[in-house]
């Protein structure tokens, strides 16, 4: 009997949380037709994009390099110069660039947003905003969400280039490929749709990361422990949603 109670309770909690998130999203979208705080949007673009660039660049470079080695040693080494360059380029632009970039940024940015907004919530700073006639959705949430949507594709664009260069570097240094031929093969096999699909995914991931950070930050209760829990939830939920939505988008963009 207890198992039914637990399952029922989990389902109710899930539905309640989904409903709350839906209302939160509606409020965020509603705030987009009100006042735009351009200064906040710019600050968030710097915080989410520019400051995440080193970690995203390192992740992409090493992923591109590791991918090149795996394809070379795992596959048929005949004609490997063509296969490695094309699969690295497609793998990075279609999947690994956006997904790994998204996951890395989720760990860094979603946590930071949840911790910052969570602390503001428990120290009454969000109530203070309201008493100063400022809508927290317009001032805090929307600038982060729009910045995430704009900046993630730019970050992933950099990640694509750096990831491909990681593969090229390993190919030239370790696998004795000709650097010019490698890049020519990359150019031949890579189509604009491969890059655009990755950037579309990145934009969706930007929305997920910033929304999860803001939503869990706003849900914070009970001091430092509550803020810690919200931060963890923000990272976990944004990572899962990135992977889930990536699967759906890959189906929509490529399966047809």
């Amino acid at each position: 009997m207890k198992i039914f109670t637990n399952v029922g309770s989990s389902v109710i909690n899930f539905l309640e949380e989904t409903g709350k998130f839906f209302i939160f999203t509606i409020k965020t979208l509603k705030s987009s037709i009100s006042k735009w705080y351009f200064r906040n949007i710019f600050q968030q673009m710097v915080s989410i994009g520019y400051l995440s660039l080193p970690v995203v660049a390192l992740t992409s470079f090493f992923t591109g390099g590791a991918l090149a080695i795996q394809i070379y040693y795992g596959g048929n080494q005949f004609n490997s110069e063509v296969i490695v360059s094309s699969i690295v380029a497609l793998g990075i632009t279609r999947e690994l660039g956006p997904v790994l970039g998204g996951i890395v940024v989720a760990g860094r940015v979603s946590a930071a947003i949840a911790a910052e907004i969570g602390t503001m919530k428990v120290t009454e700073q969000i109530d203070a905003l309201r008493t100063l006639s400022t809508d927290p959705f317009e001032y805090l949430v929307f600038p982060r969400v729009i910045a995430g949507i704009i900046v993630l594709p730019i970050l992933v664009g950099f990640a694509d280039v750096i990831g491909i260069m990681g593969g090229w570097f390993v190919g030239v240094q370790s696998l004795d490929f000709n650097g010019t031929v490698y890049l020519q093969n990359t150019e031949i096999f890579l189509e604009s749709n491969d890059i655009i699909s990755g950037l579309i995914k990145a934009s969706v991931f930007g929305f997920i990361i910033s929304m999860m950070g803001c939503y869990h930050g706003f849900s914070s209760e009970g001091g430092a422990q509550g803020v810690g829990r919200s931060t963890m939830n923000a990272v976990v939920s944004s990572s899962i949603l990135i992977l889930g939505s990536n699967y759906i988008m890959t189906n929509l963009l490529f399966a047809s």
Partner: protein, 250 residues
């Protein structure tokens, strides 16, 4: 100026405010006292539009504000200022930006805002040196002064104070109390303070209300507080554990 009629608010089974009635005249400095957990903060949050009461009427300047947010109230009727218990200064903004926050959002130039913010800092006994510092660089007493500065910056008609002296030493608390009294008198504002600090009550209040189990059980001029034979008031202001107020969950 502020009239509350039959205000009810419950959280699940916990009935926090029970048909609460209170009327605060213009220019009055009312203080609501009561033990922790009696609903003082809930009352304040209902007044500020941060919580929606289950039923009842809250009139500010003759307009029922139930269901309205502060942006609406500030635009339509009267200006409201608020001093939060912990100060609630924005820790990502420096002091002058904290004080002039509302004007900065309304496209007033930064130069003008900083100038007025520094004037406001002087009003609350701080010099211009702190204008460019961040809240974390100030002591608790200085943060409370800045928070008071932010509350009076827009010259509000009504100011709410939530436990203004919590966490301060008695001397700093007295300085803040006197500063509150002075600024409220200067502005001619209506003030509502919630506190359980009796020295605050004696300094700030013109009228005192006692909140107990979700209702106002006593209200009169501050001078009457010491003379009253009401057992609840006597127990509370003398800080006695024996009396009609039962100690639960402490």
């Amino acid at each position: 100026m502020i009239e509350i009629k039959n205000l009810n608010k419950r959280f699940h089974k916990n009935e926090v405010l029970k048909s609460l009635n209170i009327k605060i005249e213009k220019g009055e400095s009312a203080v609501v006292i009561g033990r922790s957990g009696t609903g003082k903060s809930v009352l304040l949050k209902c007044l500020l539009g941060l919580l929606k009461p289950d039923s009842g009427v809250i009139k500010i300047g003759n307009k029922n504000i139930i269901g309205k947010n502060l942006q609406y109230i500030n635009n339509k009727s009267v200006k409201i200022g608020m001093l939060f218990q912990g100060g609630a200064l924005f820790d990502s903004l420096n002091i002058w930006r904290n004080i002039s926050f509302s004007s900065l959002q309304n496209k007033v130039s930064e130069k003008e805002c900083k100038k007025i913010a520094i004037e406001t800092l002087e009003k609350v006994g701080l010099n211009s040196d702190v204008a460019d510092l961040y809240p974390s660089e100030l002591s608790g007493g200085m943060q409370k002064r800045v928070s008071l500065g932010r509350a009076i910056f827009s010259e509000p008609d009504i100011i709410f104070f939530d436990e203004p002296t919590t966490g301060l030493d008695p001397i700093t608390a007295d300085v803040i109390n006197k500063l509150i009294l002075e600024k409220v008198n200067d502005l001619g504002a209506t003030a509502l303070t919630i506190t359980h600090d009796m020295s605050s009550v004696r300094t700030i209040a013109s009228k005192v209300y006692m909140l107990h189990e979700g209702n106002i059980i006593w209200g009169d001029n501050v001078g009457e507080m010491e003379k009253t034979k009401n057992e609840y008031i006597s127990q509370f202001i003398n800080g006695q554990s024996n009396g009609p107020i039962k100690i639960q969950n402490n």
